[in-house]
């Protein structure tokens, strides 16, 4: 009873801490965007940005108010669940961002479904056969894949599979997807490219975690019980390394949302990362803010989740 209460308190503390971070980020993002040179009036008018035109537009968009006043207005809106409307399209930014977020989540989800098992298997295999030729080869390969810029990987992949072999479509436009087959075809290259970026780190960290676990006496004990390697990994090791692995996966997933601008642009995939880049370029501040907030919230959500998983699994293992 008391232990459960303590556990709930600890979880609440973790959640509270990440909420503090979120508040900090919210404030920071607002002022960061305020520091950006130029505003949406400049961006809208482009080469036609004569001073009087800019001033008139700026006034009509409330951009000529002092930063602090705008901040108060913005926070007030947030507190009422109003994230504002895009200065360019006049559509509510929440709707615009959530549209793209769904696409991003889809891509991230599919990538995770593919990359996480691959990374876990590679990392685990490297840990089991550590310091062998296999381990070294995996290490070399994953490092290479991480270090080659992803635009090169993506472009090369498109050139080979779409242009030369005509096997896969060169674009991953959501609108073209009508069947499982076209879904797989459209997604295979972006997903592979993204997987290249995250598998390296995930498998390296998995390897480290696994080596720790495999060196434990309970694994030796399982061997001496006559358990097969597969049984040992699945039944004994995985439940124990779930917390650190989850942490690794959480960090990679948060990258999959925000760090995929290049893949989105090469494959013409309408994700939220490119929306953010667009909105920065257009100085559509409400949109920038909600994108940044989504990234921050996603990151904090994932790491908080990882922290809670770690807490729960350590609770089970070492009573308070």
């Amino acid at each position: 009873m008391t232990m459960n209460a303590a556990l709930i308190r600890a979880i609440l503390r973790i959640i509270g801490a990440s909420l503090v971070s979120l508040v900090f980020v919210t404030i920071a993002v607002f002022f960061i965007t305020a520091v950006l040179p130029g505003d949406v009036a400049d961006a809208l008018l482009g080469q036609a940005a004569t001073p009087d035109a800019v001033a008139a537009l700026r006034h009509s968009l409330n951009l000529d108010k002092p930063v602090l006043v705008r901040f108060v207005i913005w926070v007030n809106g947030l507190l009422h669940g109003d994230f504002g409307v895009s200065l360019i399209s006049r559509r509510p930014v929440l709707a615009m961002a959530s549209e793209r977020l769904i696409h991003s989540l889809l891509l991230a989800g599919v990538t995770a479904l593919f990359a996480v098992p691959v990374a876990l298997v590679l990392g685990t295999a490297s840990a089991i056969f550590r310091n062998t030729l296999f381990d070294r080869a995996v290490s070399l390969l994953t490092l290479c894949v991480v270090s080659v810029p992803e635009f090169l990987v993506a472009t090369l992949a498109v050139f080979i599979f779409s242009v030369q072999l005509h096997l896969l479509p060169s674009l991953a436009s959501i609108s073209d997807i009508h069947s499982i087959g076209s879904f797989l075809a459209s997604f295979s290259m972006p997903v592979t490219t993204l997987a290249c970026v995250i598998v390296g780190q995930m498998s390296r960290m998995t390897r480290a975690v696994m080596i720790d676990a495999l060196g434990s006496s309970w694994v030796e004990m399982a061997v001496l019980k006559g358990a097969s390697p597969a049984h040992i990994i699945l039944r004994h090791v995985i439940p124990n390394v779930i917390a650190p692995l989850f942490n690794v996966i959480a960090l990679s997933l948060s990258y999959l949302l925000g760090g995929v601008v290049i893949v989105e642009s090469v494959f013409h995939y309408p994700g939220i990362a490119s929306l953010m880049v667009d909105s920065v370029a257009a100085r559509d501040i409400p949109l920038v803010q909600i994108c940044a907030l989504i990234f921050c919230a996603a990151y904090l959500f994932l790491t908080t989740l990882a922290d809670i998983v770690a807490l729960l699994s350590s609770q089970r293992r070492h009573a308070a």
Partner: protein
């Protein structure tokens, strides 16, 4: 007995011929761990593999299952177990063999159980892996094994997790795991080394019971000759991977032929190192350290100003200058907490500590430089205490410079000399040292601060008997040379006896007895002290049976829990001589003629009497 004749040798179930095991570190050269070891074990026989760390005994035990640890391999020889040629089996066959034909009980069961899975799943796992019986039957058999080994609440204990059980319980669960498939061979790898003596008895008895019931062939790996005496029929003595001597247990223990065996025996024999200086706590001397009514707890303080959960209850402990004070008790009794409180890394709620007349602040940061310097802690595990990235010389040098002393190479040489280490060691790093060497460096580091009182927390617990004996010798030499006082915490009564002037016995956070070491030899004593005494294994084969015979089984089952608030004697649940009053009121402190202070409701006379039957040695 059987093997000694050598003429009508019964068919051996285990046969090891010219076994050679090798290992390598990293990419280093392959070095032999075990050379040319041969032995046989007859059916239903229990063979002891005796040796200290590095003797290769565990490697041999593992090799019997066809397993070699990472970096090691079976490089030569033959192993036949129950008709299987272990060295020639492919992996799949080995898997079918392990856990079914041969089972293994590891030294540290706490670590050998998967922390993330409930225990029952792990206990019956071999049965399910080898399909020897369906799950339901396996659970039934497990429960009956639990009952056989006298585990508390056998029906439900399986649903708990490893961390929820005590060391003794979990070791018995490990035995149940090994026996679940009814294997022909069971290997015991130092199964009781990590346990308190009082617990060890229960576990050893449990092992004997199951062996009687199940009738397996066994290999018992240990360094403890007294345990060998209880458990094994025959013994093989190993040193550095080579067999030194082989014979029946009786012969090995009573008439060892090999000099190494003799040395081992000598180290196992209790010996007084301390020429006890008759110190009398007259109350006139200023004690070097004076702990008064110390209360340590957690969970916030209640209305009475005491913590909700106490670890230490009103413990008082005066240490005179130059004396060696011993603290003994089983794990969880609060002895380490006491040391940590004195060292300034464990805050307390009530009571106080003075050091050389000056009060000690609870937090180390608040203490004066002189106090920090003159009060030194030597912790149990030298592996953890020495910075692996700092050379021995630098470690010592830092202490010297920090205290403003000359940190010359000569001074460092002197310190190393003091702990009987060669000066050349100054350039080495801790991972390159042996356990004994590390503990000596650890001591030297404490000495470098020129302390007046050294707190020693189980400093010999992790060491081999011979090495531990040498460390104790060193302690006493230093005591004579430097005149410093020691506070020596241990669970080893032998060690305690051999070095201490006075002894405090802790039980569940209470000081139940405080006595000059000389008084330990004769009654009266607190029932718990007596129990501790009786639990120290002796090198006669029938010792275990005797002790168990005297035990009041009902009292043994209650675990030693940290005392919660409330009245009554802390020991009441396990006390064989308890009376009604023990339940309801705090026992008074009685003074024996020998000067022992005993917290017990029984009178000195009663205590002296009740001691008689158990005290046979």
């Amino acid at each position: 007995m059987r093997a000694q004749s050598g003429i009508i040798q019964p068919p051996s179930l285990i046969s090891v011929k010219n076994l050679r095991l090798t290992g390598r570190r990293g990419r280093g050269p392959e070095t032999p761990i075990v050379e040319n070891v041969s032995f046989d074990v007859a059916e239903k026989e229990m063979l002891a593999l005796i040796g200290e760390s590095g003797s290769g005994k565990t490697s041999i035990a593992l090799a019997l299952t066809g397993y070699a640890r990472r970096g090691c391999r079976i490089a030569g020889g033959h192993i036949h177990v129950a008709g299987y040629d272990v060295t020639a089996m492919p992996p799949a066959e080995l898997r079918a063999f392990r856990g079914k034909t041969i089972a293994y009980i590891a030294q540290n069961a706490g670590a050998a159980f998967n922390p993330a899975l409930p225990l029952m799943d792990q206990v019956i796992e071999p049965a399910l892996l080898h399909h020897t019986m369906p799950r339901r039957m396996a659970i039934e058999r497990a429960i009956s094994l639990f009952e056989l080994m006298a585990l508390p609440s056998p029906g439900t204990i399986g649903s708990r997790y490893p961390h929820e059980l005590s060391g003794g319980q979990i070791q018995r669960l490990m035995a149940a795991t090994a026996l679940i498939t009814g294997p022909e061979v069971v290997i015991f790898d130092e199964p009781t080394t990590a346990l308190d003596v009082t617990t060890q008895i229960e576990v050893l008895e449990a092992f004997r019971t199951v062996r009687r019931e199940e009738g397996f062939t066994g290999v018992y790996v240990t360094h403890d000759l007294a345990v060998v005496a209880q458990m094994a029929d025959r013994a093989v003595v190993l040193k550095n991977g080579v067999v030194q001597e082989e014979g029946t247990t009786e012969q090995i223990l009573s008439a060892p032929r090999h000099s190494y065996t003799q040395a081992l025996l000598a180290a196992n024999t209790p010996r007084i190192r301390n020429n006890v200086t008759e110190t009398k706590d007259t109350g006139k001397d200023v004690p070097a350290l004076d702990v008064r009514d110390l209360v340590v707890g957690y969970g916030g303080t209640g209305r009475d100003g005491r913590p909700r959960h106490t670890i230490l209850s009103d413990v008082s402990l005066p240490v005179l200058p130059g004396e060696t004070m011993g603290i003994i008790g089983e794990s969880g009794c609060g002895k380490s907490t006491l040391i940590r409180a004195i060292a300034g890394i464990q805050p307390w709620t009530n009571g106080g500590i003075t050091f050389e007349g000056e009060p000690l602040a609870p937090r180390i940061e608040a203490r004066s430089a002189a106090q920090r310097r003159h009060l030194q802690l030597v912790a149990q595990n030298a592996d953890l205490v020495l910075n692996p990235a700092m050379s021995v010389g630098d470690t010592l040098r830092r202490v010297l410079t920090f205290n403003g002393d000359a940190a010359t190479d000569v001074e460092i040489g002197h310190l190393l000399d003091m702990v009987r280490l060669p000066v050349a060691l100054a350039d080495r790093f801790p991972p390159e040292l042996s356990g004994g060497q590390k503990q000596r460096v650890n001591l030297a580091r404490a000495l470098a601060a020129r302390p007046r009182l050294v707190l020693c927390d189980e400093i010999t617990a992790a060491l081999d008997t011979v090495v531990a004996a040498a460390i104790l010798d060193l302690m006493m030499e230093l005591k004579r040379e430097l005149g410093i006082a020691w506070l020596f915490v241990t669970h080893d009564l032998h060690a305690l006896r051999s070095v201490c002037d006075r002894v405090a016995v802790l039980y569940a956070g209470h000081r139940v007895e405080f006595t000059p070491v000389a008084a330990l030899e004769t009654p009266p004593h607190h029932p718990y002290t007596r129990r501790l005494e009786n639990s120290v294994p002796e090198m006669r084969a029938d010792w275990l049976s005797d002790v168990i015979g005297q035990r009041d089984q009902a009292c043994d089952m209650a675990p030693a829990m940290p005392s919660s608030r409330g009245n009554g004697c802390c020991y009441v649940s396990r006390c064989p001589v308890r009376e009604a009053v023990c339940e309801i009121s705090v026992p008074p402190v009685r003074r024996s003629p020998d000067g022992a202070l005993i917290s017990c409701h029984l009178t000195i006379q009663d205590l002296s009497r009740s001691t008689a039957p158990g005290d046979q040695s």
